[in-house]
């Protein structure tokens, strides 16, 4: 039966969850035993899992693959989304590169600005958590019910969709950025330290942006239009995370705010790391801030999640 099914569906057969033939059990031999209750089938490792945030790698990986399967059906939509997200940084790239002209502003030359914004386009795409926007709808329209019935914390759905999404967006963004780099000639001096430091800075930036958005999105358990706060977060990121201008170029109060608030650590900081704008002290302070804000975001997420589900199970979905 499975082989037939596989044959019929050639279109996206390569995306299908691969499954080796030896997993197939020949025929249905004893029908009564096939459908016997599973208590005897449960392995001890299953019953050992009990808390709500268990890691379920099999489930998580399956969700990632599911998201890919769904998205290949709509790839042009996601490419359009990715294109839309590139536009504001591109505009500011041209504004600053033009303003710099032959001179430099705040230490950045024309080529420096091009490099900064091209890296920012990549970092912005990699850290943008579009799944946060759907959490509220899931809660409002009762989708949370089926997620809560599964032996897998719903945050895994969002996380898996994130991981899957990054891959799809990168298929579009990396070639486009590469072409832009060929045309616009960025000035980027990569050092080993900067490159090595960039990787954890990027990972932390993504985690921070994801959990920060997620806890805000969980406010949908209480308020119907909690996603207004996500729009506010996007606005603050635009202003304070190095999009409208590198944070070093922001006027006094805004610059201080950008260093204190979490938003710079979601986008701007990893860009500054890779483009070599930071000295050792700046790097360390940045990482410390990233870790501290991530801890706050995860704590807020955990609190909101528990309180939210408690409320949800009190009022009904």
């Amino acid at each position: 039966m499975k082989q037939e099914a596989r044959g019929k569906r050639q279109e996206s057969a390569d995306q299908r969850i691969s499954e080796s033939a030896d997993q197939r059990v020949s025929g249905s031999t004893d029908q009564c035993s096939v459908l016997s209750p599973p208590s005897s089938v449960l392995s001890p490792q299953h019953s050992a899992l009990s808390t709500s945030f268990n890691i379920n790698l099999r489930g998580g990986w399956a969700l990632i693959k599911k998201t890919w399967l769904m998205w290949v059906q709509h790839r042009s939509f996601f490419f359009l989304l990715a294109f839309g997200w590139m536009i504001p940084p591109l505009i500011y790239l041209f504004v600053w590169a033009t303003a710099a002209g032959g001179a430099s502003i705040g230490g950045l030359t024309r080529g420096g600005f091009v490099a900064y914004y091209l890296v920012l386009i990549l970092v912005n795409q990699l850290t943008y958590s579009q799944t946060n926007w759907t959490v509220g709808d899931t809660i409002r329209y009762g989708g949370m019910n089926s997620l809560l019935l599964r032996p897998l914390s719903p945050v895994f759905d969002a996380l898996s969709s994130e991981v899957a999404g990054k891959v799809v967006y990168m298929l579009f963004v990396i070639p486009v950025t590469a072409v832009l780099a060929l045309i616009l000639r960025p000035e980027l001096h990569l050092t080993l330290t900067n490159t090595l430091a960039f990787i954890p800075a990027l990972a932390l930036a993504w985690a921070l942006r994801f959990f920060w958005g997620y806890w805000l999105a969980l406010l949908a358990f209480w308020a119907t239009r909690a996603d207004a706060l996500l729009a506010l977060q996007d606005a603050l990121i635009f202003l304070l995370a190095g999009q409208v201008a590198p944070t070093a170029l922001l006027p006094g109060v805004l610059r201080q705010a950008s260093h204190f608030l979490p938003f710079r650590y979601m986008v701007g900081f990893p860009v500054e790391v890779l483009t070599g704008q930071l000295d050792a002290a700046g790097l360390l302070a940045g990482f410390a801030a990233q870790v501290a804000w991530l801890a706050v975001a995860v704590a807020l997420f955990a609190v909101m999640w528990h309180a939210g589900v408690k409320r949800y199970s009190a009022v009904g979905g």
């Binding site: 969850i17 197939r24 096939v34 209750p37 599973p38 489930g59 019935l149 897998l152 009022v315």
Partner: protein
């Protein structure tokens, strides 16, 4: 004695519902001070269900059926009383509990619309960490029972309601739950699809020994599947026992259908039937066939008299249709003794 799979004791659920008068003024006022009313969705109901039982949960809309099911599935926290399913407090939603139950909602879908069901099934198999061999065996079995081989590779969005429901059932049973909560699984389906799903559910219950609680507004579902029914109304348990018993308890009357050789007026028939204040009522009269409603106790005497005094061609004694019985309870809100 076999231990009960589901134990519910004095279970209560009260919702706090915000309320306000219509109009802008009231809307503004409610911004400052919100008023709440308490709605008792479930009031102190108690019952137990043994492993492998197929129980029908019936009651009018808003009776508290779905609320009770949601409490048992772990989606709602009760405001009072106790519930244990296989020893678990459902609302703790421990993963080893969730792995052993399943809830299929007739009006909600857990299938992914854009991809063929086979892909959704595999994701669920992984989430529930079903061993691959067992997964394939269960899937083959369910697909054969539901006769849905041809559906596996088409996107779910192109499915009819009945086809989607088949998928929901497969999705809900892939991990071989011990307890299955079915909330109106036949909602909106045509009669033959309803019948097919009923056959499937009966067969699956027989083969697997799964414990099932089913809610449905289609009495045919309940009659076909549930040897035992629990009736709730306004959140209270009104009846718990065999469906047949409900009809007898509730409807202390029977229907006598008569076909007479030549036409008789209503009065003539009633005169023949009634005696000593025994009550009979003509329910219907058309084409020479008459339906009488008579008290259960007086049925034998009245039947005998009718046969003696009227030129009867055909006579049958029947229980009232279950729909009529249920309707009467829903209207009156109580089960008469």
């Amino acid at each position: 004695m076999i231990e009960s799979h589901i134990v519910v004791q004095n279970l209560s659920k009260t919702y706090r519902v915000p309320e306000r008068e219509p109009g802008l003024g009231a809307a503004l006022k409610s911004l400052v001070r919100r008023r709440f009313t308490d709605v008792d969705a479930v009031r102190e109901i108690s019952f137990t269900v043994a492993p492998g039982e197929f129980v029908g949960f019936i009651g009018p809309n808003g009776a508290g059926k779905t609320t009770t099911l949601k409490i048992l599935a772990g989606l709602l926290h009760p405001t009072g009383g106790e519930a244990r399913v296989m020893g678990f407090a459902p609302w703790e939603r421990r993963h080893d509990y969730l792995r052993r139950i399943s809830m299929v909602l007739g009006n909600k879908s857990q299938m992914l619309w854009d991809i063929p069901p086979l892909d959704s099934f595999r994701v669920l198999g992984e989430i529930y960490q079903v061993p691959p061999a067992q997964f394939q065996q269960t899937l083959d079995e369910l697909i054969e029972l539901l006769e849905m081989q041809e559906l596996l590779t088409k996107p779910v969005r192109n499915f009819s309601l009945g086809e989607r429901m088949k998928c929901e059932l497969v999705a809900g049973l892939l991990h071989r739950p011990d307890v299955l909560f079915l909330d109106e699984p036949t909602l909106g389906l045509d009669v033959s699809m309803q019948a097919r799903l009923r056959r499937f559910l009966a067969e699956y219950n027989r083969r697997s020994g799964v414990t099932v609680i089913l809610t449905s507004h289609y009495m045919a579902d309940v009659v076909a599947l549930c040897p035992r029914v629990i009736l709730i109304h306004h959140g209270q348990l009104l009846y718990d026992g065999a469906l047949q018993g409900l009809a007898e308890k509730l409807a202390p009357f029977k229907l006598i259908r008569l076909t007479l050789r030549n036409g008789h007026t209503e009065e003539e028939i009633l005169r023949a039937a009634q005696n000593d204040g025994e009550n009979a009522e003509v329910m219907e009269q058309e084409n020479g066939q008459v339906t009488l409603r008579v008290s259960r106790a007086a049925t034998p005497a009245i039947t005998a008299r009718l046969l003696n005094t009227l030129p009867v061609v055909d006579l049958s004694v029947e229980d009232p249709p279950i729909e009529a019985v249920i309707d009467q309870i829903y209207q009156e809100g109580k089960v008469e003794a």
